[in-house]
Symmetry: C2
Subunit: 458 residues, 2 copies
């Protein structure tokens, strides 16, 4: 949807509501894809959003809910009573329904589950809700097709025909279980269609089926998908019984969320307690709180840098002009350090950098830093020497830059590896920890050099 | 595959090669998933990698190639002659085959295509290769199932049975075309299975099929998948003829690459000319070159900061101790600026921040900056006032921090929007441009305050 269509659709909706033409509104929304409705909803004032949501039929409403941003979803849900919510939830995939239920107060959840006419669905939802949200169990849905190993191909096809008429479950793969519900294989539709009708499922299935455990973390699930590139992965309990499936669209969402987390974390934003959407659109207090941990670290680091500078106050008193080069040193050091740490953080996340190669990477980045340091040191050092008419200035600035940039590249590489080794998210490292460490070491090198050459700087 | 399994597998392979037990090697590899083989390959020395690749049958070899990191893939391909490559390429999905061919010298490509026994496949590959790599045409594959609108459901099912026996094409969706090859609808297998056998495809298909144009960019393709969450999207030419499909696994790869690009770009690494894997594992010169553009900007910015500092050299001569607080100001300002720009860069990429809301976001981040600035300014200002025994020092440092942090949050928000408005990747903004701008304005505020209060600082 282009911005122009979005705006014209928005205006059309507002006009229809103003005219109280709800039949027209319903018709206008029916012609839109749920993802487009969700996009327009974000632009509407709250009452218009509620009025529009009200005219959607339950199936459409469920699809729109799945597309809505988290804050709008919560806002709309809060207004609906159980009688309206039950039919919507019944038609949603169970994993999405659980995501909605998890945002409601406990009493409402009990009321809704009690009012569900389909008892099997209600108990399914209760079972799914019992899992922590970030485990495979919390991500899986109950909509999958399970067939028994001893059925024939013909029976299986007939069974599918009946299911396809009754339900909206999609057949990514057919999962094969024994009579005790243990996952024993997987069967593709294409194999089934072409198999002789009298053969049994266990004769044509692929017994090498990979699965995740119901308590595996979302990261494990995402890695599984990234590696094996399946459309869906079955989830089993500790004794191998099939509990649900996770589909590729959930996995894609997890991968995107994890990368966003990594990006935010290494930019100094805390993502632990907040939904990423809240950080941009949410309240001021959330915005401030999410930044606090990194700012405190930066502040403490800054205070250490002040104390280091204070140790060299004699040198500064003699040659105050030294101070004006500090931002140049800090900027270039910080930049090189961030570059190196971004490479390692991403590398560790994708598996292209591993802990056993720490030394190799540190050496390599040290060399990269040294090369860049020599180039920039000579360039800027010459400039400064000429400008101040004193080669010693050039020598100190150039030497300071060389030292600072080399240390920055090395620290930027080493720190993420160290964090990873002690099981802290390496993305945290690439923020203020590295810049502060670089500031402190860079200042020491620079002022150390200046103090040593003090007699030539007068 | 755990690191332990990987190491033991690697040792097993090396032992088998040493014993020249190629039958054993072939057996050992057959039991591994192609993704696991690719993981072990990265650990092996080149000759062992080539020996192992040699014992794979063509189908397996093709699967392993698709899982390999880019540099290893190129290395292995360079060693194979056409006679070995042709059978491998024949069994690969056409989009992956094209990715391999694109890395070979032109003469070799011609030779390989000439030697392909299946002329239709050869001409398909030639057609796909004609598209630029980052367009929908360059991403699509020719393996899809096309059915005609006037076929009956029964004919279609029979046709699928035959195709399923002959080929390995998977049936995500069946695409419906008219007799001139124009895409007119899409049909799900479940609808087909349950349809009365005498109905024609156009009676049961969904005519609302979304597609992308063959010259759409990879970004457009990724957005399409993200929004509509399909397993595959058909690619059509300018007159609506069906040319190929792009499947979800390619889209997931694009999304991940784009996020990685965004992350690298805002960390000051150039991704335009280099594969991201090269930056970590590649040659020193690549590593240095990818960092150069940002470092030059930082260097120029640093020189501007030096000149600004030089303007205040009188103030510095009177009160040299002012200099030791510069890293604290720079660090906190840089951090707050990076936080804001990361939010906006991500928001612009996901659509949660839009250009028409620029003013709202700038105001909001200005307020966030002001709140943080007051808190940190009062805290650090008080500390410094007590430490130096002069409240004026506290006032200047505190005021400098407040000004610097507020400006940082505002600039960090504004600059990505400005870049976006003039069609430059906003991720570029969040690197050195912002830190330099913050350094310069922050220094001016700080030294301006100090110069104004100079008489009290003696």
């Amino acid at each position: 949807m282009t911005p122009e269509t979005r705006i014209s659709t928005k205006e059309k909706i507002l006009r229809l509501i103003e005219q109280q033409n709800y039949a027209g509104l319903s018709l206008a929304l029916q012609n839109l894809h749920p993802a487009d409705i969700a996009e327009v909803f974000r632009e509407l004032p709250q009452n218009a959003r509620e009025a529009s949501f009200d005219v959607l039929d339950p199936e459409e409403a469920g699809e729109v809910i799945q597309e809505l941003d988290f804050d709008l979803m919560v806002e709309l849900m809060a207004k609906l009573d159980a009688a309206k919510l039950v039919p919507i939830l019944q038609l949603m995939p169970s994993d999405e329904a659980v995501d909605v239920l998890n945002e409601l107060p406990d009493e409402r959840v009990y009321e809704i589950i009690r009012k569900m006419p389909d008892l099997k669905q209600a108990s399914n939802l209760k079972e799914l809700m019992a899992y922590p949200e970030d485990t495979a169990g919390g991500l899986m849905s109950s909509e999958f097709v399970k067939v028994y190993a001893d059925m024939t191909a013909e029976d299986t096809l007939n069974y599918l025909r009946i299911r396809a008429e009754q339900e909206t479950t999609s057949f990514y793969y057919l999962y094969v279980v024994d009579r005790h519900d243990h996952l024993v294989g997987v069967l593709g539709l294409r194999t089934l269609i072409t198999a002789p009708p009298y053969m049994t499922v266990d004769q044509i299935m692929n017994p090498a089926v990979d699965s995740v455990n119901h308590y595996d973390t979302r990261t494990v699930v995402a890695e599984h998908f990234q590696k094996y590139q399946r459309l869906a992965v079955p989830v089993v309990d500790n004794v191998g019984r099939l509990k649900g499936i996770i589909t590729w669209d959930d996995a894609a969402e997890i991968m995107e969320e994890e990368l966003t987390d990594e990006f935010y974390t290494s930019s100094g934003l805390s993502t632990e307690e907040f939904y990423t959407e809240e950080l941009l659109a949410g309240r001021l207090s959330t915005a401030v709180k999410s930044r606090t941990p990194w700012l405190l670290v930066t502040m403490l680091g800054g205070i250490v840098a002040v104390l280091v500078g204070d140790m060299f106050s004699d040198t500064l008193h003699h040659v105050p002009i030294l101070a004006i080069f500090m931002p140049l040193l800090g900027g270039l050091g910080g930049n090189v350090g961030t570059q190196s740490s971004a490479l390692i953080v991403r590398g560790l996340a994708t598996g292209h950098a591993t802990l056993d190669k720490t030394f190799l990477h540190v050496i390599k980045q040290f060399r990269v830093g040294a090369i860049i340091g020599v180039i920039i040191g000579v360039l800027v050092g010459t400039l400064v020497g000429v400008w101040k008419g004193n080669p010693w200035f050039g020598l100190i600035i150039g030497g300071g830059l060389l030292g600072n940039i080399t240390v920055a590249a090395t620290l930027g590489t080493l720190v993420p590896f160290l964090f990873k080794r002690i099981n802290i998210d390496p993305a945290i490292a690439s923020g203020p920890f590295i810049t502060t460490a670089i500031d402190v070491t860079g200042l020491t090198i620079y002022f150390g050099l200046a103090t040593w050459a003090l007699s030539h700087l007068g």
